[in-house]
């Protein structure tokens, strides 16, 4: 991916890379934000500008960025409101941890363990998304939102009573407290206490790779046959059917891919902590991810990334005001809603923006002139 961007930049210049169609522009901006952010944070950590507390947030920031992007596939591209994203994250986290504990001791090469765990987490989350998606995707709008919320909670509550343990190399599991079979076992997941004794293998680099992969997949889908089908069903369901698009299939596709990516992110999240409780994946987390998406602009990939990063960093940076956190949240959200749906304000902001950056316009028109000349020459 990085190669592609470098190629873009080197072969045609950054300006040209930004000037192509919407897809190329969006991709370039998203990758650039991720890579620049990564470099800045790494540099900050190396020079000691960024404290230990914030360094501990590096992986969660990446995870939330990735989640914001994957939820955008459902909310922005497919146009359905999903409130159960944390549920898929939980599935990915616990199944990933399970795999890492099983294969961890026998496989010395750590990155392979992480990769396999993440893939397995994605697979399990996709399966969960598929099973849940089939019955509910006939629903629309608010009803779908409520049912996804319910399923998210069901998944979390299942995790609350699920016990997994290794007994002489054999995997055993039980529900609730009927744990006779795994009494002597080496417990991996212990109901509401969650996963304990996980070897923390997640690193910032893995976080970056996760984000890049998520952006890569989501943007590619958006610019493919499948993405076009998903978006056209969002724009006009009846017209979509009239040109032969299977509505349920494509809604399900968006839902499952989004769930798989959430599972992958969840797995990395799980591998970041030695102890992980299922409560972490409650309704609040789902809403938080949705807030990232809304704040960044529904359907806007890089907007979601920025929103996720900021909203994860800021509470950490202003820890002393933690009591007012939810209050500020509400106020900020209301302000954002008012601003984004206010054309007068938008026009004023863009007006100010163009005044601040007069040189930007000039350089653009210069670029255009050059391009035209180039075309004439080619013809």
């Amino acid at each position: 991916m990085a190669e592609r961007i470098l190629k873009n930049i080197s072969s045609r210049g950054l300006k040209n890379a930004l000037k192509g169609n919407d897809y190329r522009k969006e991709a370039t901006i998203s990758y650039a934000i991720l890579i620049v952010g990564f470099i800045l944070l790494q540099a900050g950590a190396a020079t000691g500008l960024i404290g230990h507390n914030l360094q501990g947030q590096f992986v969660p920031i990446c995870v939330y960025c990735s989640l914001a992007v994957s939820l955008n596939l459902v909310v922005g591209i497919s146009g359905e409101l999903s409130l159960g994203h944390a549920g898929f994250m939980a599935v990915g986290a616990f199944s990933g941890i399970l795999v890492s504990r099983i294969i961890g001791p026998s496989l010395a090469f750590e990155p392979a363990v992480v990769l396999i765990s993440m893939l397995f987490g994605a697979l399990m989350a996709a399966a969960a998304g598929f099973v849940i998606g089939i019955p509910i995707l006939g629903l629309r709008g608010d009803y779908l939102a409520i049912v996804t919320l319910a399923f998210g909670e069901i998944i979390r509550n299942l995790m609350n009573v699920l016990y997994f343990g290794l007994d002489n190399g054999r995997l055993r599991f039980a529900f609730n407290h009927s744990i006779e079979g795994i009494e002597n076992a080496d417990r991996i997941i212990t109901g509401a206490i969650g996963a304990t004794g996980t070897k923390t293998m997640a690193t910032f680099t893995w976080g970056l790779l996760l984000c890049l992969f998520t952006v890569f997949v989501v943007l590619n889908i958006k610019n493919s046959k499948q993405g076009r089908a998903i978006m056209s069903i969002r724009d006009n369901r009846i017209a979509g059917e009239s040109i032969g698009l299977d509505v349920r299939k494509y809604k399900l596709m968006a839902f499952v891919v989004s769930a798989a990516l959430a599972g992958m992110a969840g797995c990395l999240f799980g591998l970041n902590y030695s102890t992980l409780v299922p409560v972490k994946f409650n309704f609040n987390t789902s809403v938080l991810i949705l807030v990232f998406v809304v704040l960044g602009g529904v359907g806007n990939i890089w907007g979601g990334i920025i929103a996720a990063a900021l909203l994860t960093v800021l509470p950490e940076a202003f820890r002393q005001f933690a009591d007012y956190r939810m209050l500020t949240y509400a106020v900020v959200l209301i302000l954002v809603m008012i601003c984004t749906y206010n054309p007068t304000l938008k026009a004023r902001i863009t007006g100010i923006w163009s005044k601040i950056k007069p040189f930007k316009k000039q350089s653009e028109s210069k670029g255009k002139g050059k391009n035209k000349k180039g075309r004439k020459g080619a013809a």
């Binding site: 072969s11 045609r12 040209n16 192509g20 169609n21 190329r24 997949v217 590619n220 889908i221 493919s224 046959k225 499948q226 993405g227 076009r228 089908a229 978006m231 056209s232 969002r234 724009d235 006009n236 009846i238 017209a239 979509g240 059917e241 009239s242 040109i243 032969g244 698009l245 299977d246 509505v247 596709m253 891919v257 075309r375 080619a378």
Partner: protein, 360 residues
């Protein structure tokens, strides 16, 4: 030295000259091969009687007589609750016919389109498309079978570009899977390049290649209508259903549209069935016309026949004054007669209450 071309540059490289007649030259084409329908309706009947048994072969233009009809509708009807919206609708459409469906507002024209495309399931009757019954098919199957439509209230994919709108319609001919789409494999690149070329071909028909990068929702009304026709056409149908294609177009745009519909029919060799209120368009290009009123067929035939049909004139313009007075007179007489009869009856039986009162 860019090894990969910019998308826009690639588009300019596409050779569209093989796509047949250029949009601008279409006038000549039409004057050369005069397929306008008038003369081909040889033995259609003077007037259509809705109660006659199913026998519609006579309404197919002569050039399509030898082939099996593309669409056969027999005794089609639908009820919404207690209301019969359409009843006893019969139709046979030739392979390359341009058929018209007209009627006053609320006559049930769009309902018939909705039944043909299975947006509504008909209550009665059968539809045979390309020789096969469409029973049990849904909208998606109907489209895959080869019937495409446009909508009275335009239904475009507003947030997609014009080009993407056509590409979506080419969905089933785009040959790659989800994994290719996710990872943009060489297969994806190859197919995307191919369908971009094809999409441009379709846009060329209406001369819309310049607007390819615009959002569909931002186009002017007439262009949106044309794009919708292109999108329907891109699904490679055998029958194209157009629901008021000229609505909101000015006279010159309508004339252009007429030419284009004929061009589409000739180039793709498909049948077209259209609903339209603009009589200049209907009378100009349709080879067979069905007139609907209150959900029933009131006339069928070729354009001149329809224009002079008293039932059609009545449905559109109302009854003539003399006839109206005559009917009013008749109605009055009927009511009077009924009243008189009622009075006589009540007098004869003698209502008990009244009788009692009289007695007191």
């Amino acid at each position: 030295m860019a090894d990969k071309k910019d998308m826009r540059n690639e588009r300019r490289d596409i050779d569209i000259s093989d796509s047949g007649h250029a949009y601008e030259n279409r006038q000549e084409i039409y004057y050369n091969d005069n397929v306008g329908g008038r003369a081909v309706f040889v033995d259609s009947k003077e007037q259509y009687a809705p109660d006659e048994p199913y026998n519609d072969q006579v309404f197919i233009p002569e050039k399509d007589r030898g082939k099996a009809p593309i669409l056969e509708v027999k005794n089609l009807g639908i009820d919404f609750g207690g209301l019969t919206a359409v009843d006893n609708f019969n139709l046979t459409l030739g392979r390359t016919e341009i058929g018209g469906l007209i009627g006053p507002n609320g006559a049930g024209k769009t309902t018939i389109f909705n039944m043909l495309t299975k947006v509504y399931e008909p209550t009665r009757g059968e539809i045979f498309f390309d020789g096969k019954s469409t029973k049990g098919m849904d909208t998606v199957d109907i489209n895959k079978a080869g019937m495409a439509r446009t909508f009275q209230n335009i239904r475009l994919f507003d947030k997609l570009t014009v080009e993407e709108n056509i590409k979506v319609a080419l969905h089933h001919t785009t040959n790659y899977g989800l994994i290719d789409g996710m990872l943009h494999t060489p297969k994806y690149r190859h197919e995307e390049f191919r369908i971009r070329k094809e999409a441009m071909k379709y846009l060329k028909i209406f001369g819309m290649t310049k607007t390819a990068d615009y959002r569909a929702g931002s186009l002017p009304y007439g262009a949106q209508r044309r794009l919708e026709i292109m999108r329907a056409l891109a699904t490679k149908p055998k029958l194209l259903l157009l629901d008021e294609p000229a609505a909101g177009m000015n006279p010159s745009e309508t004339t252009e549209l007429m030419d284009t519909i004929r061009e589409i029919r000739d180039r793709f060799q498909i049948a077209v069935f259209l609903i339209e209120h603009d009589m200049s368009l209907v009378m100009g290009i349709c080879e067979g016309i069905v007139v609907l009123n209150y959900g029933r067929v009131i006339a069928k035939g070729w354009p001149e026949e329809i224009q002079s049909n008293p039932k059609v004139i009545e449905a559109y313009l109302g009854k003539s004054r003399g006839k109206m007075e005559e009917e009013e007179e008749k109605e009055k007489n009927d009511i009077e007669a009924a009243l008189r009869k009622g009075r006589l009856e009540s007098a004869a039986s003698g209502k008990p209450d009244a009788a009692g009162k009289v007695g007191e």
